[in-house]
Amino acid sequence: MIGGLFIYNHKGEVLISRVYRDDIGRNAVDAFRVNVIHARQQVRSPVTNIARTSFFHVKRSNIWLAAVTKQNVNATMVFEFLYKMCDVMSAYFGKISEENVKNNFVLIYELLDEILDFGYPQNSETGALKTFITQQGIKSQHHTKEEQSQITSQVTGQIGWRREGIKYRRNELFLDVLESVNLLMSPQGQVLSAHVSGRVVMKSYLSGMPECKFGMNDKIVIDKQGKGGSSEDGGKSGKQSIAIDDCTFHQCVRLSKFDSERSISFIPPDGDYELMRYRTTKDIILPFRVIPLVREVGRTKLEVKVVIKSNFKSSLLAQKIEVRIPTPLNTSGVQLICMKGKAKYKASENAIVWKIKRMAGMKESQISAEIELLPTNDKKKWARPPISMNFEVPFAPSGLKVRYLKVFEPKLNYSDHDVIKWVRYIGRSGIYETRC
């Protein structure tokens, strides 16, 4: 259980302080500030013990959130709770920044009252919280005019995330598969680690209380169907199925059904929401390969050649490609030759930034740079930070495919065919690094 929750700005000023249990004294707020925020060394651990009180902290932009407890608690749970708290707050007022926290302090106090009681987590779902919270979030940039959620006396309804009586003239459904692919590659081209973390984000404009069913090329499902004998497209999709390591769902998904049949069925919330999050580590399509060649010519010169190869269907186009080649601190001048795109040496960032607007699949492009170095007597070897890459590709690097998305609404008279559905795949780079 959590004894208290504090929010500080980067200077260590207390923005929010809420104490739930008497064993946390008023001094605890200062103790954390003095020992962690104002400490001269770097943060040594996300958990700090000061006089038998444990402080768990999480940083979001320049805001510190700290949970305090005197008990020997379950550490994973406290951290997960802090993340959840951040999620709830950003659902109400966007980014967690000092300005937003200050503007919404009444709302935050109200949230803290509802989410925790006597230090025990009570109710942490944004949808279900809406009925209890009277304040509206104030967003700094644009004030979204959300309709005032009516405070109903029906407090523990079955479906907390959708209200009754929604009507649209055109029933539309947008589905985005957003993936970020992470890679760490050795200079020799060996994959040290690679994983894809993906999200299925939906926007639904559907009338009534529709029941949706979502299917993808999940290996377990497809194997099961293959055994069952239904061979409609078993041969084709059999090899294209993907193994999902772990996934989490929006609360609207019926978990019991997923556990038993691994089918994803749900009554969607209205508007934007994130249906599921997943992670895969096997058979990832790496959209780009970076081949670095670094040669040190004497003490004052460095020759760098970087080749990037796009590794996907030639009919597809990758966009917003950016390769960032770090340079040593004592660089005095850089000469660049690249065949495609624009490259520039940015002295303030100690890097060569090479940008290419568009690049088709199965192509190759290279840049070569001559870096002149100032002679220094600093004997410290250059640490050679990895070359990082950013890009956007119109497919899912994990290989995930949406097989179907069906909508059933038994009460209102529209069928699955009347719903206009849009599906889009976007693969972005996460931390995509190649060591050199």
Binding site: D22, V34, A75, S193
Partner: protein, 733 residues
């Protein structure tokens, strides 16, 4: 955060609150109350508005009610009498048809934390337990726990306890979990809630209904249950199997913890469970949030104590990312060391070698000592890397490498040849005391094999007068003695000089005693000395051959999924910090006393008028300004500051009260150099704190004496430092 003009604000707010026009307009009334809360959170003392706010509480507007409650809960403890007025309104609200109002009233009634109001609260709480709405029951159940916490000695009615037990069967899962929590707290003296078979089965069957937090709670409490038969045990385990691989790490960890406690008698089942959680644990290690990654790593370290082979194939998951924080990198390296085997050792060492040149010196040193640990089993490859690192001639790297080599040679004496070759020339790059101590130890033990050993020692002995580190001096003594035994011709003269210095001139008693001991030992003859200094030592290399025995799971099972695994590392680092600080401090004091043997005295006393006259008269005095970082000083009481200053003969003359800004202290003292002919100077000082990070110190002196000023400043900083550390400790208590 002090706030100027607080009184005006309060007066204005009171006028607005009592204005009938405002009171009749709901929106304006609400906005005024919002302003009160805003002022409160900015640190203005608005407790004077208590009675006005109590009146504002009686409203139908829920938004306004909530705002008022926030205010009341913060100030109720200051106004116990006026709070009685609120109770009436709150009790009325408990009858409200709207369940939200009822739960709100009930929660705030229990949040007031006033023992005097207990008698009024009990009745609505009892009613709340039987309320129709689940949200009211949730609050009421926890309310009893709060009540018990407020007066731990008073007995809670047995009827209430029974009712709480029966509410475990409530249809709302949160009410059920809250009942568990409340009973745990109320029955703490008796060892918590009684867990029997029907309750266990009921809780397990409803586990899926509750949210993740509730599941964690239930799983934790069930650890106390002991199944009556093996069949029952396996039924429970198969029920829990799904949560063992839950995508929520907190549920997974709680389930594993329960598994381990249930299967404490069945090691095979525990092993199977650990194998099963490997996947989810590894996933948590690669999660996006660094805190979770850290927690997972700490727990994996725990598992590896019993099952060193559990993660062997997945060693690549523990390679560090470039931008990861140092604490994660260090944990990952500790794990990597455990995972090393014949197949991956090349890959692992390559990876660790990359970390040795990390920008963060702590990380670099941790990587080097990790290589040293691996060196116990793969000494050749590791020594090659370590020797290569010496060529970089980097101060912190060389120091870490030499220390690592020292530790390695102790367990693997066969490496000594390579180490001795590598040592040549690295004394030039070594700066810190830890590294030099390590070098000296190596020279002492393997003096015969290092040809340049006496020359290196000579440099040390020539510089012993300016040596500040106590450890280095002690090590130097032992090393010279050892070297004397194997190479007497080259060392005899040096040893004589060193012993003479240490016995006659050295201010530190510890070093002096050690030198005397060696001196007397030499008097007993060379055989005796050899017996003492080169006697047989225990053979730690045996441990490497046998390997560390893997611990039984029960050794750590009880600390799994608590704070303990996270603490282990930090306790270690804390103790090393304090240890190094101790040696530094003990080294600093004699150093400063050698440089400037300065004494302070209070006489002749200075009257405040005299002080003021001297302070304002600028030309005569030499003045100097310094910035010191002590942000916490202004929070300590004048008495403790004065007492601390007087201990070192500094007189404080005037203070501003604590917590005001700017905060000032005026002080004075007389300095005097010991030994010399009496050479007295007067120092006047002002400490000024304006709310920034630093404390500004202005010092004026008559007549000018820079040495004395510097000495005084170091004394002052030391006093302030001790005061701050005590203060922090005090606050933390």
């Amino acid at each position: 955060m002090p706030y100027l003009g607080g009184e005006d604000t309060v007066r204005e707010l009171r006028r607005a609150l009592s204005n009938p026009n405002v009171q009749s307009d709901q929106l304006r009334y609400r906005n005024t109350i919002l302003k009160v809360i805003r002022a409160m959170s900015q640190g203005v003392d608005v407790s004077g508005l208590f009675s006005d706010m109590v009146k504002a509480c009686a409203t139908v507007d829920i938004v306004q009610k909530k705002l008022v409650y926030v205010f009341l809960c913060s100030y109720a403890a200051l106004n116990p009498e006026l709070s009685l007025l609120v109770i009436n309104t709150l009790r009325k609200d408990c009858q409200d048809p709207n369940p939200m109002v009822r739960s709100l009233a009930l929660r705030n009634m229990t949040n007031l934390r006033l023992p005097s109001l207990m008698e009024y609260v009990e009745q609505p709480l009892t009613a709340g337990l039987r309320d129709r709405a689940a949200c009211v029951r949730r609050v009421a159940v926890l309310g009893w726990a709060k009540l018990h916490n407020l007066q731990p000695n008073s007995e809670i009615d047995a009827a209430v306890v029974n009712e709480l037990y029966s509410l475990l069967r409530d249809p709302d899962p949160v009410v059920m979990v809250n009942c568990l929590r409340a009973l745990e707290e109320i029955l703490k003296e008796e060892g918590g809630i009684a867990i029997n078979k029907p309750i266990t089965h009921h809780l397990l069957n409803r586990l899926k209904e509750s949210d993740v937090w509730g599941q964690c709670e239930v799983l934790r409490i069930l650890q106390r249950y002991r199944p009556q038969s093996e069949d029952e045990l396996f039924d429970i385990l198969s029920l829990l199997d799904a949560s063992l691989v839950s995508p929520h790490p907190q549920v997974m960890a709680a389930t594993l913890s329960l598994f381990l406690s249930l299967c404490s008698g069945l090691p095979a089942v525990s092993l199977a469970a650990l194998e099963r959680v490997r996947g989810p644990l590894l996933a948590a290690c690669g999660s996006v949030s660094r805190e979770l990654r850290f927690t997972a790593l700490c727990h994996i370290q725990l598992l590896l104590r019993s099952l060193p082979g559990l993660m062997g194939a997945h060693y690549k998951r523990f390679f560090c990312g470039y931008a990861e924080p140092a604490y994660i990198k260090q944990r990952k390296m500790q794990v990597l060391v455990e995972l090393v085997n014949d197949d991956n050792v090349t890959m692992l060492l390559d990876e660790l070698k990359g970390y040795c040149t990390d920008v963060n010196t702590d990380t670099a040193q941790a990587a080097i000592s990790a290589i040293g640990r691996i060196g116990r089993s793969y000494s050749d490859r590791c020594l090659e890397i370590l020797t290569g690192l010496l060529a970089l001639k980097q101060e912190h790297i060389t120091s870490a490498v030499v220390q690592t080599m020292r530790d390695l040679v102790w367990v693997c004496p066969q490496c000594s040849d390579t180490v001795c070759l590598a040592l040549e020339g690295c004394e030039e790059t070594l700066q810190d005391s830890q590294g030099r101590q390590a070098l000296l130890w190596l020279l002492g033990v393997y003096g015969e094999q290092v040809s340049s050993a006496p020359y290196t020692l000579e440099v040390f002995i020539d510089g012993v007068r300016s040596e500040v580190s106590l450890g280095v001096k002690m090590e130097l003594l032992t090393t010279t003695m050892r070297l004397f035994l194997c190479r007497p011709a080259e060392t005899q003269d040096m040893l004589g000089r060193l012993l003479h210095y240490c016995i006659e001139e050295e201010p530190d008693m510890c070093v002096r005693d050690q030198a005397l001991l060696y001196y007397r030992l030499l008097h007993c003859g060379i055989e005796e000395t050899q017996k003492v200094l080169q006697g047989r030592r225990s053979d730690p290399s045996l441990g490497v051959l046998i390997g560390r025995p893997s611990e039984p799971i029960s050794q750590w099972a009880c600390s799994f999924n608590t704070l303990e695994p996270l603490r282990q590392g930090t306790v270690e680092t804390d103790s090393t910090i304090s240890a190094s600080r101790c040696t530094d401090a003990s080294a600093d004091v004699p150093a400063s006393s050698i440089a400037a043997p300065l004494s302070l005295s209070l006489s002749p006393a200075l009257s405040p008028e005299e002080f003021e006259r001297l302070w304002l008269q600028r030309q005569v005095l030499h003045s100097e300004q310094e910035q010191i970082q002590f942000p916490a000083i202004p929070h300590c009481s004048p008495q403790s500051l004065q007492a601390a200053m007087q201990l070192v003969n500094i007189q404080t003359l005037a203070f501003t009260p604590p917590h005001t800004l700017p905060w000032r202290v005026y002080l004075y003292t007389h300095t005097q150099h010991a030994g010399d002919s009496p050479h007295i100077t007067l120092i006047l000082g002002e400490l000024l704190y304006t709310g920034e990070e630093e404390l500004k110190v202005t010092l004026k002196q008559q007549p000018r004496d820079d040495k004395a000023l510097k000495g005084f400043l170091s004394i002052l900083t030391t006093v302030l430092h001790t005061l701050v550390t005590q203060l922090v400790w005090f606050i933390a208590r």
